[in-house]
Amino acid sequence: SRARFAETFAAVNACFKEVFAHVFPGGRGELLLTDENDLLETGVDIDIQIPGKRAQNVSLLSGGEKSLAAIALIFAILMYRPTPFLVLDEVDAALDDANTNLFNRLIKDVANKSQVIMITHNKSTMEVADSLFGVTMQKQGISSLVSVNLN
């Protein structure tokens, strides 16, 4: 219904502004309705300003900036409506070292409310995990589990 969408939109938007300012200190991120008069059909636009830069169309964002902005939006929605568990498959692939460290801190925050299952190749992200599953193919073509020692 209209009222429900309006309420959810407003709440998620408030969370997005908060999470975005935390992920991009000094920047500004917000959601906009493309047609406020038609809450049942309206699209949702995204307006992002990276710190130090002018607000531009999201298509001009870099690969890493897009990933981080998307992570901020996902975490904002989770803030409003947490889910029991969250599955992330290599969402950190485009991030540089500094943003990977930021991501690792964010994940720890999110894990307070939701269980997180995360696939990554990134050593520093593995270190943040509370537990690890190693998947291997000791017999070629057949997956099995193996215990992992980080060192």
């Binding site: 029991p84 599955v87 498959d89």
Partner: protein
Amino acid sequence: MKLKRLEISGFKSFRDKVVMDFSEGVTAVVGPNGCGKSNVVDAIRWVMGEQRVKALRGKKMDDVVFNGSQDAAPVSMAEVTMTVARDGQAFPGAYAEFTEISLSRKVVRDGESDYYINKAPCRLLDVKEFFMGTGVGTRTYSLVEQGSVATMVEAKPEDRRLFIEDAA
């Protein structure tokens, strides 16, 4: 609700049964390219009722059944069981008294899928309804596939709306 255990057997590259016991906090799944990590994500999507073949990266529904390897023959059945535990809030509807619920999905090659809740046969609709109230449905923001994290930012405004609706 917490994810407690995942049992995978005959599903994609998991010919032999594996059991994953999950704990609180962050669990990382690691391993070399092609070892089967994303297949675990597919197993989670599948047991939660995913019907779209493309979302499981296959061309036909049978592609989820172990298809053989150089040395091993194909098998005829895939089965995934997800066990969830109560975490504060009670389970929805008829499952309110349970502290743990197991959901299973089985399929034989060329057959239809069978669904089970606590080992009792049920319909796909029952599985969908169970997850509906928890926000972990197969399409929402709670599962991000490999290579698609930036989708929410790159999406058209009318598609981005769907993510917000899921949180309503």
